[in-house]
């Protein structure tokens, strides 16, 4: 009997393995309808009344001023409005503010729309705007970004006019106000519910309102019927929380979700070639740098830092890991960000790297450890880099940590060698370089007075050409300091079912999904 059982077990296992190996990606059969369906002509009639999207993380909060993860921004984009919006060309468009003017060096006066209702039915007034801006300068998670604004001095002029103040002349002010952190929240609701409560039941002015949050599984949004702008074209938006990138891909292929904010590079070719799916790829505001902390003594010598960079064949790493979904970094921030200049990418020079190490007193190399917030893509890139570093004698241990631990380590200043994957949602270089400033709680700890000085100059400069000149100098200085190893500018890569039309591409990775139309 026992022998029979074992044999059966072996057979079963073999069958499972064989089945796995021969399974083709399943294709749904509804693709025959083709693309001649003209659903766009009748905006009122939508073939389906719900959209299912996948987000990568469960946010701890949906409070726009009290959260720091991309998944939260992607949901908030559907629920909140900002004073102004930034289009793909970088122009500012009216949103909650009808018009605005710079009345002096540090004051922008906004005239607000008078027909805006919050999800709780209250009217939005200048006081809500003032409160939201002040809130953004006070809550730590947004204060680091909104530090240029003066919350105390921001004042209500009349019910629908507000003066937003900045501490110093601030060229990028509008860009910051256009990010989700500049979202306008209901003062009444925020004060009643308190910080944690408001994070779970946020009240905004956007086309969707929060309906239900099933922890660990999904966030359900519902159409807000009294929305002031173009109302949502369907009833329900479901954001499913799916941490594993390859599982997200499979869910899209099997129809479990309709829309992905980013495509897993490993699955990109398959999704692109699937006739039932559409991919849209474009340049993003995201850059990935590996950061050498200036508090670690082994990196205090620029020769060592330069050797770390020269050892790597960045284009080969990017091609293998990101494929079509990334370009080798040629500066310290993405080419989509204002004032970007192309300097790199780093050119591999193994002999020079060895020479520099020997000169720096490490003829036999040295050992170090890189820590980072878990990411399969970064891990793959590091495993290739690990081999290249080993070839010049640098022995690098790769240690992925969970995001929270990594952030805690950064705050405590104990990360020696880390990683920054940063989306400059404002499109402003001052934002892109935030972690290069002295006092920033990150893995870089440059503490370089020259960088601080140039950043202050750039922030205050309002002349376009001069501002670009300052950021050119700053990028070159940062690049040549070798404080960081610029790796990749990853692309935005949306993927969705071909039943979706009228999707508006956004290079911020935070598209507005309220106007999507479903065809049959």
């Amino acid at each position: 009997m026992k022998k029979l059982k074992i044999l059966a077990l072996i057979l079963a296992a073999t069958t499972v393995l064989t089945a796995c190996s021969s399974t083709q990606p399943q294709k749904s059969e509804a693709s025959s309808s083709g693309s001649e369906v003209s659903a766009t002509s009748t905006v009122t009639k939508n073939a389906r009344d719900q959209l299912v999207v996948a987000i990568a993380n469960e946010p701890g909060s949906l409070d726009p001023q009290n959260v720091g993860v991309v998944s939260a921004y992607q949901v908030q984009e559907q629920m909140f409005n900002t004073l102004v919006e930034r289009d793909e060309e970088g122009n500012f468009l009216p949103s909650l503010a009808e018009s605005w003017e710079q009345i002096d060096d540090t004051t922008i006066r906004f005239k607000l729309r008078q027909d805006v209702l919050f999800h709780n039915g209250e009217k939005m007034t200048a006081e809500d705007v003032r409160y939201s801006i002040q809130r953004a300068t006070e809550i730590p998670l947004s204060a680091s970004i909104f530090k240029g604004f003066d919350g105390e001095a921001t004042a209500v002029v009349d019910d629908y006019t507000v003066d937003v103040k900045t501490k110093e002349p601030f060229a990028g002010a509008l860009s910051y106000l256009a990010t989700t952190r500049g979202s306008i929240v209901s003062k009444k609701a925020a004060e009643e519910k308190g910080l944690d409560g408001f994070g779970l039941e946020p009240i905004g002015t956007g086309p969707f309102k929060l309906s239900k949050w099933e922890s660990g599984d999904r966030i359900i949004l519902e159409k807000f019927d009294d929305y002031w702008g173009d109302k949502a074209t369907y009833k329900t938006l479901i954001a499913r929380i799916i941490p594993d990138a390859s599982v997200r891909s499979m869910e899209l292929e099997s129809g479990g979700v309709d829309f992905l904010f980013d495509t897993n590079p490993a699955d990109y070719d398959r999704i692109k070639n699937n006739p039932n799916l559409v991919t849209e790829v474009g340049t993003s505001f995201t850059h990935e740098l590996w950061l050498l902390s200036m508090t670690a003594e082994e990196f205090s010598d620029i020769k060592v830092r330069k050797a770390m960079s020269l050892a790597l064949d960045i284009p080969a790493i990017v091609k293998t890991v990101w494929g079509e979904l990334g370009v080798p970094a040629d500066s310290v921030f993405s080419d989509k960000v204002y004032g970007h200049v192309s300097i790199g990418p780093i050119k591999q020079d193994v002999e020079e790297a060895k020479k520099l190490l020997a000169e720096a007193g490490y003829p036999n190399g040295f050992s170090t450890e890189i820590t980072f917030g878990e990411s399969a893509v970064t891990q793959a890139a590091l495993e290739i880099a690990q081999q290249m570093w080993a070839a010049v004698g640098i022995n690098v241990t790769i240690t992925p940590l969970d995001q929270a631990t990594y952030k805690d380590n950064n705050a405590a200043g104990i990360t020696r060698f880390g990683r920054s994957n940063f989306t400059t949602s404002t499109g402003d270089p001052d934002h892109a370089l935030a972690n290069w400033q002295s006092g920033y709680k990150g893995a870089l700890n440059a503490n370089d007075a020259h960088i601080d000085e140039l950043m202050a100059k750039g922030r205050a400069e309002s002349d376009d050409a001069k501002r670009k000149e300052i950021y050119k100098e700053l990028q070159e200085y940062c690049w040549n300091s070798y404080y960081s190893i610029p790796v990749v500018f990853s692309k935005v890569s949306y993927a969705y079912t071909n039943k979706i039309t009228n999707f508006e591409f956004a290079s911020t990775q935070q598209p507005n999904l309220s106007q999507i139309i479903f065809s049959e």
Binding site: I6, L17, C20, S21, S246, M250, D269, Q387, I398
Partner: protein, 295 residues
């Protein structure tokens, strides 16, 4: 189920003892599945020892121009996402898996045996304390205990072996304690005590040889469990770290590509399955051979 008998054969007349020893080997050889398991394990052991000679390529050198190559005469098991030869990695993986299996079983077996003998021989308070600890350890599932230990000590080969080893201590402690209690009450132990032998000598000369059979059986089956647990640890990133070739971590890294490149996960998976199967068959065979009455 009858527990006592391991020692009984040795207590009977000399001729009977001889007969039983021959019987063990004969009975084992008659069990074809067990012999098959043993042959596979010997094969894996040879592969592990001669990995550098057998593997056609290095297990860690990447070839970024040749990623995701399907199985071919050049790369028997294809190449992975970094262009590394999967066959060579599976071969080197045998090394790591067998080392983990042997050392963690060694840890669990030796600590467990000492704990079990101490508890059974000295009894009363010592017994209660040791067995309470064992009970507490056993109340946590083995894999969970290994995961917690690995998470606490940090990932790595050595820590993984310790974690897997420690999590298997309770089972050895229990088996050994029960066997020692059985043997302890027998006449030849009393004879040894009466003739003035100290406890250490009695344990070494009279008890250990008589409880070896259950330990060997548990160790051979336990090794399969240990290899599986270690692979699970590596799969969730707590075990052996890259670029080392370990079957569990190979499956973990390759699973993202399973739809495009099945060979990256399939071959290490088959290696794990074969090893674990073979060890279990071997363990079953040993038990049947050493303990015929249990059938």
């Amino acid at each position: 189920m009858e527990r006592v008998p391991y020692a009984k054969g040795l207590l009977e007349t000399a001729s009977q003892t001889e007969y039983n020893k021959d019987g063990v080997i004969q009975r084992f050889l008659k069990n074809r599945l067990a012999v098959g398991g043993m042959i596979i394990m010997v094969l894996f052991a040879v592969i592990a020892v001669f990995a550098p000679q057998i593997a056609p390529h290095s297990f860690e050198v990447q070839d970024l121009n040749n990623v995701f190559a399907p199985p071919s005469s050049q790369h028997w098991f294809g190449t992975d996402n970094f262009g590394r030869d999967v066959f060579s990695r599976v071969v080197y993986g045998a090394r790591i898996s067998l080392i983990i299996g042997l050392i963690s079983v060694g840890i669990g077996c030796s600590v467990g045996t000492i704990a079990g003998i101490t508890a059974a021989w000295w009894g009363s308070a010592v017994d209660r304390v040791i067995m309470s600890i064992v009970d507490i350890m056993q109340s946590i599932p083995g894999l969970l205990l290994a995961v917690s230990l690995s998470a606490a000590m940090g990932p790595g080969l050595v820590n993984a072996m310790i974690a897997v080893g420690v999590s298997s201590i309770p089972i050895y402690a229990r088996i050994v304690r029960a066997s020692v209690l059985d043997v302890r009450g027998l006449d030849f132990i009393d004879a040894a005590i009466v003739s003035g032998a100290g406890p250490l000598r009695i344990i070494r000369r009279h008890i250990l040889p008589n409880i070896l059979a259950p330990i060997v059986i548990q160790a051979s089956a336990g090794m399969a469990g240990a290899i599986l647990t270690a692979a699970s640890l590596s799969f969730i990133g707590l075990g052996v770290q890259p670029p080392a070739a370990e079957w569990g971590s190979m499956i973990s890294a390759g699973r993202a590509y399973i739809q495009n490149a099945w060979w990256i996960v399939t071959f290490p998976g088959m290696a794990i399955m074969l090893t674990v199967c073979a060890l279990n068959l071997l363990g079953d065979g040993l038990r049947d051979a050493l303990d015929p009455k249990e059938k």
